[in-house]
């Protein structure tokens, strides 16, 4: 039985240190099915590290990640967890040796062991969704940043994930390309996908997400609805951060 109220993903007492430097200090929060959570905060506050720990690209120093109530590291097969919890990177990280179509197929073939025909159909379906199907034969080096990021999103979606993690997906883009990627993400949020988004796009955090987590020096300083965070932040440091960001 799936309990609708039970969190799909929860982070419990997560700590991460690089040598003596403690980047994450006891982080706990949980995400429910269909939640779109934005994580904001200044550079160096640990946002990206948090996301990378959720996906085990960084090994947590302490604490655990639970997915559907089970420990993601010990009770889920590694490949299955990664397939269900996808990731979109700041620097796209499309596989440079493959065409756009192959990028969206390789995970399906190698990890989910789908047959090539099914994988191709699925890949084309999602490429169509992000408006990139005409470029299926192009190589990553031949695309613009915004196009690459849309392909990266299609690649993640083709794995049929339950949760998608976005690590500053628009930070490496030219300003004029930010819109096309945010447009795709907005559509995904409305489709009911569970999303965890580290972002500097305050408009996205305010208008699209259901919840905003504000991080400051390795802790969650404030976790609330976007209305509360943006109109009446409880913490002084949240106010300070927002006034710095929104002034620009």
């Amino acid at each position: 039985m799936i309990d609708a109220a039970a969190p799909i993903l929860s982070v419990e007492h997560l700590k991460k240190s690089f040598g003596d430097h403690e980047v994450l200090k006891d982080i706990s929060f949980s995400v429910s099915q269909g939640d779109v959570v934005s994580i904001i905060g200044s550079s160096g506050s640990g946002k990206s590290t948090l996301l990378r720990c959720v996906n085990f690209l960084e090994e947590p120093t302490a604490g655990e990640i639970r997915f559907h109530g089970k420990n993601a590291e010990t009770e889920w097969p590694k490949a299955e967890y990664h397939a269900k919890v996808g990731m979109v990177f700041q620097s796209f990280n499309l596989f440079n040796n493959m065409s756009v179509l192959k990028n969206c197929m390789s995970g399906q073939l190698r990890v989910l062991h789908r047959n090539p025909k099914e994988a191709e159909e699925k890949a084309l379906f999602f490429l169509e969704k992000v408006g990139m199907s005409p470029y299926r034969d192009a190589r990553p080096a031949q695309l613009s940043g915004g196009q690459k990021q849309r392909v990266a999103i299609a690649r993640a979606l083709a794995m049929d994930p339950e949760v998608l993690l976005f690590d500053e997906p628009t930070s490496a883009l030219d300003p004029e390309m930010v819109g096309e990627v945010l447009g795709v993400m907005r559509g995904l949020a409305q489709s009911g996908l569970t999303m965890l988004v580290v972002t500097h796009e305050m408009a996205f955090a305010r208008d699209v997400s259901k919840r905003v987590i504000f991080m400051d020096s390795g802790v969650i300083a404030e976790d609330n609805t976007p209305e509360e965070i943006f109109t009446s932040p409880k913490q002084q440091r949240t106010r300070a951060f927002l006034s710095r960001i929104l002034e620009k």
Partner: protein
């Protein structure tokens, strides 16, 4: 029989008399160099993949100790075979196995020596290639659920190998030339054959002039072929755009017949 008197006279004479010998020598040289480079490349790949297996603090003791031991063994292999001349390795391996009662066919011994020697160099070249691939590529492969082997074979190594193609070509050229040292174990490669040919009439200059030309032709051809292969690996410069260019930002304007679209 009248013997030639000029340099080129001798060259023509020797070519005529020993043409088949030179040809056979060149063939052996190519076979040894090519097989040795390919097998050496495979050894290098294997070593490089094994040496890049990620080890976390949470891995089991057995895995950590096993990998550590393996890494030490592989380092010793690389150091020993890079640090000693191939000519010495040939003597030690060929005569060593013979004393142990194992008589290797001489061609097999030659290929074995070149392969294992090339493997030690290739391991380092490939390690360099792997380092040259952006680490985001490995991360993306991990994030999509691939294992270390899968991400190496499907994502990292194809890019690494493309980057190190010039070095692999170098290694092949070096093998064509350096397989000449294997004459010490009497394998019928080009240098050994030339030495036999030169001995008969004591015309070392003329014979080795021919030999040099043959080596040059071999290495030059191989270099050109590798360039073609590199270009092939880069893929097509152009790509087809399918259907309409329905970019997510593209907008469609509906215009009635006879009307002029307003921009």
């Amino acid at each position: 029989m009248e013997l030639p008197t000029s340099f080129f006279g001798w060259v023509a004479f020797l070519l005529d008399k020993y043409g088949m010998l030179f040809l056979q020598g060149a063939l052996f040289t190519i076979v040894i160099a090519l097989t040795g480079t390919v097998i050496g490349f495979l050894i290098g790949l294997l070593v490089a993949i094994l040496r890049t297996v990620p080890v976390g603090a949470k891995d089991s003791r057995v895995k950590r100790i096993g990998l550590k031991a393996l890494s030490v063994i592989l380092s010793v292999y690389i150091e020993v075979f890079r640090g000693t001349p191939m000519i010495v390795q040939a003597m030690v391996i060929y005569y060593g196995t013979m004393q142990l009662g194992l008589r290797m066919p001489v061609l097999a011994a030659a290929i074995f020596i070149v392969s294992i020697n090339t493997g030690a160099y290739m391991a380092e070249i490939i390690r360099g290639g792997i380092i040259s691939v952006d680490k985001g590529q490995k991360e993306a492969a991990t994030a999509i659920g691939m294992t270390h082997w899968q991400s190496m074979i499907h994502v990292v190594l194809p890019q690494a190998v493309r980057n190190i193609m010039p070095s692999i070509g170098n290694e092949f050229v070096v093998n064509i030339k350096d397989s000449s040292v294997l004459n010490v174990i009497s394998v019928n490669e080009l240098f050994f054959m030339s030495k036999s040919a030169a001995g008969t009439y004591l015309r070392y200059f003329e014979v080795f002039f021919i030999t040099a030309c043959i080596y040059l032709v071999l290495t030059f051809t191989v270099t050109r072929l590798l360039r073609v292969l590199e270009r092939k690996m880069d893929g097509k410069v152009n790509y087809t755009i399918y259907g309409s260019q329905s970019d997510s930002q593209a907008s469609i304007k509906l215009v009635k017949e006879g009307e002029v679209p307003i921009d």
